[in-house]
C-alpha cells in the first residue's frame, strides 16, 4: 500500500514537473514573441474619387504588413507612375521588426504630380517611423526642393505643417502617434475634398 502510495506520489511529482516544464518555455515564448508589431511602408498611396464618389486606390512600392517580430519586408521600383497623377523615381520602402523595436522607411525621388490641377514637385521625399517597446513612437520626414504650383515651399520640419490649396490642403511631415505609441509618418499628404487623397512616402511602426 505504502509502495503504491509512493508510486502515486512519484507519478504526481513527475506530472507536476512535466507541467512545469511545459509551462515554463511556453511562458518564455509568450514573453519573447508576445509583442504585437505593426509595420508597413509605401512610397505612394493614391485614392482618386470617381464621379459617383467611389474611390480607386493605387499603391506603389508597398511593403505589406509585418508578419510578426523578427520580420523584414522591402520593395522598390526604379520608376513608378500613376497615369495623369504622378511620376517618381527610385521608390524604396522597408519595414523591419525585432522583439523590442519596429522601424519603417519610405522614400522616392524626382516627384512630379498633379492633383486636381495642383502641381507638386520635389527632388526627394522620405518618411521614417520607429517605435521601441515601452516608449512612444517617433518619426521624421525629409523633403528636398518642394514646390507647389511652381512656388518653392519652405519646409519647417515641424510635424503637420499645413499648406492650404484650392479645394483642400497639403500636409507636410504629417505625424500621428496612437494610444499604444504606434507612429504613422506621411511625408506629404495631399487631400483635395471630393477629388483625391494622395500620400507620398508613408511609414508606420508600432510595437506593444
Amino acid at each position: 500500500m505504502l509502495k503504491i502510495h509512493q508510486h502515486r506520489s512519484a507519478s504526481a511529482a513527475v506530472v507536476l514537473m512535466l507541467a512545469g516544464l511545459l509551462t515554463w518555455p511556453a511562458t518564455g515564448l509568450a514573453q519573447l514573441g508576445g509583442s504585437t508589431v505593426v509595420g508597413s511602408a509605401s512610397a505612394v498611396q493614391a485614392t482618386v474619387l470617381g464621379i459617383l464618389g467611389t474611390g480607386t486606390t493605387t499603391v506603389l512600392a508597398g511593403t505589406g504588413t509585418l508578419g510578426g517580430t523578427n520580420d523584414a519586408r522591402d520593395t522598390s521600383m526604379d520608376t513608378g507612375s500613376i497615369p495623369s497623377t504622378l511620376n517618381a523615381e527610385t521608390l524604396s520602402t522597408d519595414t523591419i521588426s525585432w522583439v523590442d523595436e519596429v522601424d519603417s522607411e519610405a522614400s522616392l525621388t524626382n516627384l512630379n504630380m498633379t492633383v486636381a490641377g495642383i502641381g507638386i514637385t520635389a527632388d526627394l521625399v522620405m518618411a521614417q517611423a520607429s517605435q521601441v517597446l515601452g516608449a512612444a513612437g517617433s518619426g521624421t520626414s525629409y523633403i528636398d526642393n518642394l514646390s507647389i504650383n511652381g512656388m518653392p515651399v519652405a519646409v519647417t520640419g515641424a510635424p503637420n505643417q499645413t499648406i492650404w490649396v484650392s479645394g483642400g490642403q497639403v500636409i507636410i511631415n504629417e505625424q500621428t502617434i496612437s494610444s499604444t505609441g504606434t507612429a504613422v509618418v506621411n511625408a506629404l499628404h495631399v487631400a483635395i475634398t471630393g477629388v483625391a487623397d494622395v500620400v507620398i512616402a508613408s511609414a508606420t511602426a508600432g510595437i506593444s
Partner: protein, 222 residues
C-alpha cells in the same frame, strides 16, 4: 582621325552597347589592400536621395540593405540623369543582395571607424543587362545632405569581359564619360545606419570575393 575611322569607332561603340558589355573600360582590378568583411555586430542601412555627377546632373537612388536572421536582405535602385557618356540614362535595379560589409572594420579607416557600409549584389540595368554592383554608403549625421553632405553615396557596376576579367564603371575612360560613380556627398536625402539588434546577424560565407562577386572596392573611394 579620318571620317571613316570616326564612323568605325561609332559603330564599334554601338555594337558594344547593343551587346550589353561594359567593354571600353579598364578591365583589370587591383588587388585589395584590406579584406573588408561583414560588420562584427551586423546592422542595416536605409537611404534615399541624390548625388551629382561631375557635370552637375543628378543620380537618384533608394536603398535598404543589411543582415537579418542569418542572411542579407534589401535592394538598391539608381537612376542616372546624365545625358552624355556611356552611363547616360542608366537605371540600376537590384535583383539580389549578396553582401553587406563594413569597409572600415578593424579600424582600417581610423578609430573610431567611420560609419561606412558596402552593399554588394546583382542588378538589372537598362543599358548593360545584368551587372554586379557594389554601393557605398556613409552616415555622417543628421540631416545628411548638403554641399558637404555629410552623408555619402557611390556605386560601381561591373561585368566580366570575354577573358573573365571584370570591367568596372569606375575605370571608364574620359571619352566614355569618365569614372562612374565614385563615392561623394549627398546633395539631397539621407543615409541612416541603424543599430544592430539580435536578429540582424549573419552566418553565411564571409570572404569578400564571394560576398561581392569579385567586385572589390578599388576606385570606389571614400
Amino acid at each position: 582621325m579620318s571620317k571613316r575611322e570616326k564612323k568605325i569607332g561609332q559603330l564599334a561603340i554601338l555594337a558594344i552597347m547593343a551587346g550589353g558589355l561594359l567593354v571600353g573600360l579598364l578591365t583589370v582590378r587591383s588587388t585589395p589592400v584590406y579584406a573588408h568583411v561583414v560588420p562584427v555586430t551586423c546592422d542595416f542601412t536605409t537611404g534615399g536621395g541624390f548625388v551629382y555627377n561631375d557635370d552637375g546632373s543628378k543620380v537618384n537612388f533608394g536603398l535598404v540593405a543589411g543582415c537579418k536572421n542569418g542572411g542579407f536582405f534589401g535592394h538598391v535602385n539608381v537612376v542616372n540623369h546624365d545625358t552624355t557618356g556611356m552611363f547616360a540614362g542608366l537605371h540600376i535595379s537590384s535583383d539580389k543582395i549578396t553582401g553587406y560589409l563594413d569597409p572600415c572594420r578593424n579600424n582600417v579607416c581610423g578609430s573610431p571607424p567611420p560609419t561606412y557600409r558596402d552593399i554588394c549584389g546583382v542588378a538589372d540595368t537598362n543599358l548593360f543587362g545584368q551587372v554586379y554592383f557594389r554601393a557605398r554608403t556613409y552616415d555622417g549625421g543628421e540631416p545628411g545632405s548638403g554641399p558637404k553632405g555629410p552623408d555619402k553615396f557611390g556605386i560601381k557596376i561591373c561585368q566580366k569581359d570575354m577573358n573573365g576579367n571584370l570591367a568596372c564603371s569606375v575605370y571608364a575612360l574620359p571619352q566614355d564619360g569618365g569614372p562612374w560613380l565614385p563615392t561623394r556627398f549627398l546633395q539631397g536625402g539621407n543615409i541612416q545606419l541603424h543599430k544592430n539588434n539580435p536578429s540582424t546577424f549573419y552566418n553565411g560565407p564571409t570572404d569578400e570575393s564571394t560576398l561581392c562577386n569579385g567586385v572589390f572596392d578599388d576606385g570606389l573611394g571614400f
